[in-house]
């Protein structure tokens, strides 16, 4: 009797959810494999925001270049440099070589793409740890993105491995011959052998966890056995620890090691929070995209978007909390070994990138996401996705760039090519994987619940 009632409730609820379909720009029917169909789910707003922001960044970049072309500015800068004396914060000073420029641009693009893949892996793990039903519709495409960690992201990492001696100041020949105290203090870890071994292990860990999770998930599509859910839970349970250690290792070895004198216990968590933050809104956007395209139309409800928006909101706050904690502890302790890192990031236009992190990465999305209706406004959320990608990319520039360009943010052709090329490779690999498999877990025990349909348990049926 009761189950019958709830069944009707679900039906009533499902009927009530048709309203937002008016907001959708999706096209119905048609062959979605044609190129025109590929763009069906895209919004002009996203492209407009991205283009506008990129144009603004290029303009700012030009302004910086013009500022430095002035003779008095140059003299001032030189005076500043000599005043700084044996300031150890800056790596390669003067004019960086083209190889270095490329290396830094590539590293920034790589860390951005890595954010997306790691964020996806985390959300998949989260799904199993909390046995969450609302995540079932988004799980499959996240599994595919997480599986890009190995081997795609490993192959894309190889140029960093080859250019490591050019990118990381501590690996330079001079540093290896006369290591400073900071490098000696980190002796077993910060050696060239350890760098490559640990990097390799990190990729193996990611590959093992991500592929293990996807293998069980795909196997469940075929036979629907509960054992796969248990396998995925086991992967998630140890995977969360493996994830935490490997992500911290990656953030330290590939990003923080640019300033090897620096230390911050929060560094890995900051990168983690930023990664999940950007992936949460990307998930929202992909969900919208695949729903408009039709793949996820059956499993997506208004509440799925609402929950996705809440996850993004939570990580907006979490990232601010974590990054503030890192800044605040360093600011409060005022130890030169730590403060130099932020001092270098207050110079030139880096200051404005820092402000963007405070106001654009936190305050704006935080205030914007407070009302429920904004989380369900697809146009606004798509634009916010473009905004979040920009903020996260510039946040990574803020972490990486000042080592090579102490005077301010530089964006050039290398940045565009690296990011564009890498995203193209990932999109290709992801699309291939996505099209080869069912778009959502077909026989997950919670898929009916996620669709808002009540299915009577087997034991209940026997009783009737």
């Amino acid at each position: 009797m009761t189950s019958h009632a709830i069944n009707l409730l679900s039906a009533a609820r499902a009927g009530d959810l048709q309203s937002p379909s008016a907001v959708l720009a999706g096209t119905q029917g048609g062959d979605w494999k044609s190129p025109a169909r590929f763009f069906a789910g895209l919004r002009h707003g996203v492209a407009a925001v991205l283009v506008a922001l990129f144009a603004a960044a290029l303009l700012g970049n030009g302004a910086v270049a013009a500022e430095h072309a002035k003779p008095e500015a140059k003299a001032e800068h030189q005076a500043e440099a000599s005043h700084a004396g044996h300031d150890h914060s800056h790596g390669p000073a003067g004019h960086p070589t083209e190889l270095k420029k490329f290396g830094y641009a590539y590293l920034t693009a790589y860390m951005f793409c890595l954010s997306l893949c790691l964020g996806a892996l985390f959300i998949v793990i989260l799904n199993h740890l909390f046995d969450a039903q609302w995540m079932v519709p988004i799980r499959r495409f996240l599994e595919h993105i997480a599986c890009q960690l190995f081997p795609t992201m490993f192959i894309l990492w190889l140029p960093i491995g080859f250019l490591a001696r050019d990118i990381y100041p501590w690996m330079s020949e001079e540093m290896q011959r006369n290591p400073d105290h900071a490098l000696l203090a980190k002796f077993p870890l910060f050696t060239i052998t350890a760098f490559y071994i640990i990097s390799g292990v990190i990729f193996l860990v990611w590959g093992f966890v991500a592929h293990g999770l996807r293998r069980a998930s795909l196997a469940q599509d075929k036979d629907g056995a509960a054992v796969h859910t248990r396998v995925m839970r086991r992967y998630a349970a140890f995977g969360i620890f493996a994830f935490a250690f490997s992500l911290t290792g990656a953030a330290i070895f590939w990003m923080k090691a640019l300033s090897h004198q620096f230390f911050s216990t929060m560094y890995g968590v900051v990168y983690f929070a930023g990664s999940v933050w950007v992936m949460a809104i990307t998930t929202y956007w992909l969900l919208l995209y695949f729903r408009n395209r039709g793949d996820l139309k059956d499993v997506t409800r208004e509440v799925t978007f609402h929950d996705c928006g809440k996850l993004f909101f939570a990580f907006t706050v979490f990232y601010a909390y974590i990054h503030f904690s890192q800044y605040f502890l360093i600011w409060n302790a005022a130890v030169p070994e730590e403060t130099f890192w932020y001092v270098a990031r207050e110079a030139g236009t880096w200051k404005w990138v820092g402000y963007l992190t405070i106001f654009g990465h936190f305050w704006f999305p935080f205030l914007f996401l407070l009302p429920i209706r904004n989380k369900l406004n697809f146009t606004a959320m798509s634009m916010l996705a473009a905004w979040a990608w920009t903020c996260h990319y510039l946040d990574l520039q803020f972490n990486i760039g000042p080592v090579l360009y102490p005077d301010g943010l530089h964006l050039g052709i290398y940045d565009v090519l690296s990011l564009g090329g890498m995203l193209a490779v990932l999109t290709f690999m992801f699309t291939r994987a996505f099209n080869a498999h069912p778009p959502y877990p077909q026989r997950d025990p919670r898929v009916a619940e996620a669709m808002g349909v009540y299915v009577e348990p087997a034991s209940g049926k026997a009783a009737h």
Partner: protein, 176 residues
């Protein structure tokens, strides 16, 4: 004695939900559904907009944040200047943790006060609590829809007919 409202008892959440949709579509404004447990989707069936408590929370939070910042600035940088650890007299960085905690504190006060105001609490008595059928049902296994006589659309005959057509087996006038 005045009548408080017309009470209709339903046996299942689905019945109550369908009745709520009919009452909503009939244009009533002063009515409510009482259930022993939260029923998902009932707010939509009743046509209830999003709660306004969030605004009280937000205002409380803004008040807390500005209070914290202003208080610290006034005490440390204006009223009685003290240099601590060579830090600036006022900085948003060291003021932030305290302001942030005041934000949370005042936001929760705002939520509580907002909830009380919007629910017209505290209130010592409600006419429905005198009704035995209501008290036993709404806290146990019945789903009860009450339309108040104060509703501008209320009409004893028509409202009774509407509730009967919605499938209620027990309709009763609750005295004030």
């Amino acid at each position: 004695m005045n009548a408080h409202g017309l009470m209709a008892v339903f046996d299942t959440p689905a019945d109550a939900m369908r009745a709520a949709e009919q009452v909503r579509d009939a244009g009533y404004s002063k009515w409510d559904v009482h259930t022993p447990f939260p029923v998902h989707g009932l707010d939509a069936a009743m046509g209830l907009p999003n709660s306004k408590v969030g605004w009280f929370t937000f205002l409380g939070g803004v008040t807390g944040y500005t209070t914290g910042m202003t208080m610290i600035w006034w005490m440390n940088a204006f009223d009685y200047k003290i240099v601590i650890g060579g830090k600036p007299m006022f900085s948003p960085f060291y003021s932030f943790p305290v302001s942030y905690e005041l934000t949370i504190l005042f936001a929760s006060f705002g939520s509580l006060i907002g909830m009380f105001l919007l629910n017209r609490l505290p209130r010592l008595h409600h006419p429905l609590l005198k009704n035995r059928k209501f008290c036993q049902g709404a806290t146990h296994d019945k789903f009860i829809l009450v339309i108040e006589t104060a509703d501008p659309k209320f009409n004893d005959q028509e409202t009774r007919r509407l509730l009967a057509s919605a499938g209620s087996k027990h309709i009763e006038m609750v005295e004030d």
